[in-house]
């Protein structure tokens, strides 16, 4: 495991998302998976798809149970909301303290923009966890058991997974806009290094969100769409 991290330190937040703590000595990935009760194949596929942008075994990923995928997605949500966003927030506050005089107005704008972004991201995540995921579990359960009632068919017709796929864009665009505004249009802040750190954190968050959405849109959504279709075909009254 240690070798993998030396090879690509960007995987650190990924392994922490799976609950693996540092200090694992010379243990192999397999040993750690056993220790932490993780699905070795799933863990490897996720690590690889984060490590190599061209590696994206869509078909392979779709073979994993929905529960495993959603569990992972939930952990990433948690990472965004409890670690990444508060970190950027804290850095922005530091920058705004330093820049109170000269760029006070601009800093207020960034703060306000970022707060709005934060709210939007939280609402989006909350919706996924409270509405979308339970819906997916219901669909999967019905599919697995080969049983569905007319209520479920009606629900699928009313709310299909396709509706949810289209909601990602705006959250991503907002973060991109904020980065671009800081890079191109704001007067330079006093503490350049701090500003660079903030931007780099934002870029990392952006990349992570992108990979996250990729798993949702290319793995989860097609899988659910397939099950929805199957249920509709077999249980339409």
């Amino acid at each position: 495991m240690a070798e993998v991290i030396h090879l690509n330190y960007h995987l650190l937040p990924i392994i922490s998302r799976f609950g693996i703590h540092l200090g694992f000595g010379d243990k192999t990935i397999e040993q750690l998976c056993t220790e932490y009760n993780l699905d070795l194949n799933f863990f490897l596929v996720i690590l690889n798809s984060y490590h190599d942008k061209d590696y994206f075994p869509r078909k392979h990923l779709q073979g994993f149970p929905v529960k495993l995928i959603i569990e992972y997605l939930r952990k990433s949500h948690d990472y965004y909301l409890t670690i990444k966003i508060p970190l950027i927030d804290k850095l922005l506050k530091q920058l705004s303290l330093k820049d109170k005089g000269l760029n006070g107005e601009s800093m207020q704008l960034i703060d306000k923009f970022f707060n709005e972004y934060k709210d939007e991201l939280s609402t989006h995540i909350q919706r996924e966890e409270e509405k979308v995921y339970p819906y997916i579990f219901t669909v999967e359960e019905a599919f697995r058991q080969g049983q569905a009632n007319s209520d479920l068919v009606a629900l699928i017709r009313k709310y299909s997974i396709d509706d949810y796929e289209s909601e990602h864009d705006n959250v991503e665009d907002k973060l991109y806009d904020l980065q671009n505004i800081i890079i191109k249009y704001l007067p330079p802040p006093l503490d350049m290094n701090l500003c660079h750190t903030i931007l780099m954190e934002m870029f990392r968050l952006e990349t992570d969100l992108y990979d996250h959405a990729r798993i949702e849109d290319m793995v989860l959504v097609p899988k659910v769409r397939y099950m929805e279709k199957w249920i509709e075909e077999h249980f339409t009254p």
Binding site: L109, Y176, D177, L178, N180, I181, L186
Partner: protein
């Protein structure tokens, strides 16, 4: 985009205040100057300035002919609006862009001002900003940032919603900003709008 200069030449302080209230409601980046007596008109800005010049009939009647003549030359590039009280005056010596009846309801006055503003934005051919945004695009951007819909923007600028969408696409391509929140922030940074104009909720 710079602020839009507005000069109000009116003897009555109440009328001036009334106009200022109307103008502020229109939410343009106005830079308003009040002139209470003709002698203060001599301190007017140099030639070729764009913007809106509002003058009341009563004020105009107090102006000596020589002043009226020089005003005509100096204010040539501004939209000149007479606020008429219905009494005949020396306005025949002065070419006005439009005439506002002082008893008009505020809505009509706003409409006439909007029309002049639209012309100002169309005619303005100043050098483009570093981002290559034209003045017309800036105007669209401004209205997007204050939260208007494409249809509302079209109505305000006398263009179709389709044209508004084209402008918006160009703006996004030039600035690299896609969201309304981002465009609003750009507009605030560049003083295209003042902070109070920004809608509180997105």
């Amino acid at each position: 985009m710079d602020y839009i200069n507005v000069i109000i030449a009116d003897l009555s302080q109440l009328s001036r205040l009334g106009l200022i209230t109307l103008l502020n409601r229109m939410k343009y980046p106005f830079h308003i100057r009040e002139i209470s007596t003709p002698d203060k008109l001599t301190a007017l800005p140099a030639k070729d300035q764009t913007g809106i010049f509002l003058i009341s009939s009563a004020f105009l009647r107090k102006c000596p002919p020589s002043l009226i003549h020089s005003l005509q030359t100096r204010l040539d590039s501004m939209a000149r609006l007479l606020i008429s009280d219905g009494e005949p005056g020396p306005e025949k010596n002065f070419r006005f862009s439009d005439i506002i009846d002082s008893t008009d309801p505020g809505k009509n006055i706003t409409r006439k001002l909007e029309k002049q503003l639209s012309l100002i934005y169309t005619q303005k051919e100043g050098p483009d900003s570093p981002e290559g945004i034209s003045d017309r695009e800036k105007e669209v951007l401004r209205l997007v940032a204050v939260g208007l819909t494409n249809k509302e923007i079209g109505d305000k600028l006398f263009i179709s919603s389709h044209t508004v969408i084209t402008h918006r696409k160009n703006i996004t391509a030039k600035l690299g900003i896609k969201t309304i929140a981002g465009l609003t922030m750009y507009a605030l940074i560049n003083h295209l709008i003042v902070p109070e104009e920004k809608p509180d909720t997105q």
